[in-house]
Symmetry: C2
Subunit: 219 residues, 2 copies
DNA sequence: CTCCTTTTGTTGTATTTCCAACAGACTTAT
DNA sequence: ATAAGTCTGTTGGAAATACAACAAAAGGAG
């Protein structure tokens, strides 16, 4: 476990917790470490989980099969990140996804109930853990809600304006950089790249925006 | 406060907590009750909040203004429900939304930090509260993620199949009821009703599904 | 039962998006 | 410097969606 202290201290769940506190904390939480070969399934859909995972090394994918058997990749989780926390911390009885190791991986499992219920010895860091977990899931909710607001728009033009407007508000000014190239922006908005490019040009010609590469200005 | 005990005991945050425990619990949490006139703003965008609200009576709306000043309604919250919990429990410094009372309302405010940090007197229900809150934000996370997965599809046909497939998996069988009429389903998928209706007929004629009103069967 | 209202499905037309191909601009490697 | 690769924007045609209008089906009230 000493091997992964560097990874663990950077995990957002442990923010504000001293590195020296990590080993007793993990012991207090009865955490368990497991190794998975490439392609091995970490969580099976249909089961009920109470533990979430932290990727210590390697990568896992969260995948979902629909009724017809089509598979989509919901997320890829690299080392230093959590997965399955929402499922573990919720009352969901049937996991709707599979978690599969993309490469050989070491995973640390933590029981959400252990995390949520302060131990009888009143660990000094238990409150911090709870707050951190609430923050992690809540921040995710905020981002997901914002994304739905943007992609709910019916036309590519509206989606672009919604996204750019949101970025301008975030930047607090009319000129800002976005973290995407054209293909990435199209993927984020779930539209076709060249059609989106055409719409960007129209917005520019209509005098609504100006842009060069990933720098934009609302006019 | 006795006035609202019936409402409060049904609030998901208090599930599994005895009604008689509610008054001391709310005292322990230093909760505060406030009254808002119709049209009054409960939370202003730009501010930083640490308290979420429970609507005791009335209704509030969560609204968002974009850079151009266009306003959209993100949610309407009726009595017995929480609002702002994701913002209060996260490290967000600047609220991106306004919360406005739609009608005259009574709101109970609870500080997220008070909830997350067990009091020194070790209330017996504090753990339950924490678990409930984790469940609430986690379930929201799961629902939001599933919704994005569905509306990320590019065509109305794909959106319908993704949604119906998801409902079939939830029902555990090929025949199921959906909780929407046609307009509501179109609104959920962010598509136009009559075009969606045409696509439903095509799916039926192509032999993929059968339906009558809100009962569907995947074939 | 009849009548009225609401919901659902259908259709033609206009609009938008996707797709494929390609040219131009930009970046990277030699 | 040049050549190769990648990114971005443009374009024409095909496919899909929105829109408006209306018919058919379903539901509710008297």
């Amino acid at each position: 476990m000493k091997k992964y202290l560097d990874i663990l201290k950077a995990v957002n769940l442990f923010e504000g917790i001293e590195e020296s506190d990590l080993p007793p904390l993990l012991s207090c939480l009865s955490s368990k470490q497991s190794r998975y070969e490439k392609g091995q399934t970490v969580f099976f859909s249909g089961e009920s989980i109470k533990q979430f995972g932290i990727v210590l090394s390697g990568q896992v994918q969260i995948v979902q099969d629909d009724y017809y058997g089509n598979r989509s990749i919901l997320a890829k989780i690299d080392a230093g990140n959590l997965f399955g926390e929402s499922f573990a911390c919720s009352q969901i009885k049937t996991l709707p996804v599979n978690v599969i190791a993309t490469t050989e991986s070491e995973i640390l499992f933590i029981d959400c109930c252990k995390l949520a219920v302060p131990c009888t010895r009143a660990c000094s860091f238990h409150s911090k853990l709870i707050q951190n977990m609430l923050n992690i899931v809540s921040m995710k909710n905020i981002l997901l809600t914002q994304k739905i607001e943007i992609i709910s728009k019916r036309t590519t033009r509206e989606k672009l304006l919604a996204y750019l407007s949101s970025e301008a508000k975030k930047a607090g000014e009319a000129r800002f950089y976005i973290p995407f190239n054209r293909q990435e922006l199209a993927d984020y908005l779930f539209v076709e790249r060249s059609a989106m490019s055409a719409e960007l040009s129209k917005l520019k010609n209509d005098g609504l925006i100006n842009f060069h590469k990933n720098q934009f200005e609302l006019l």
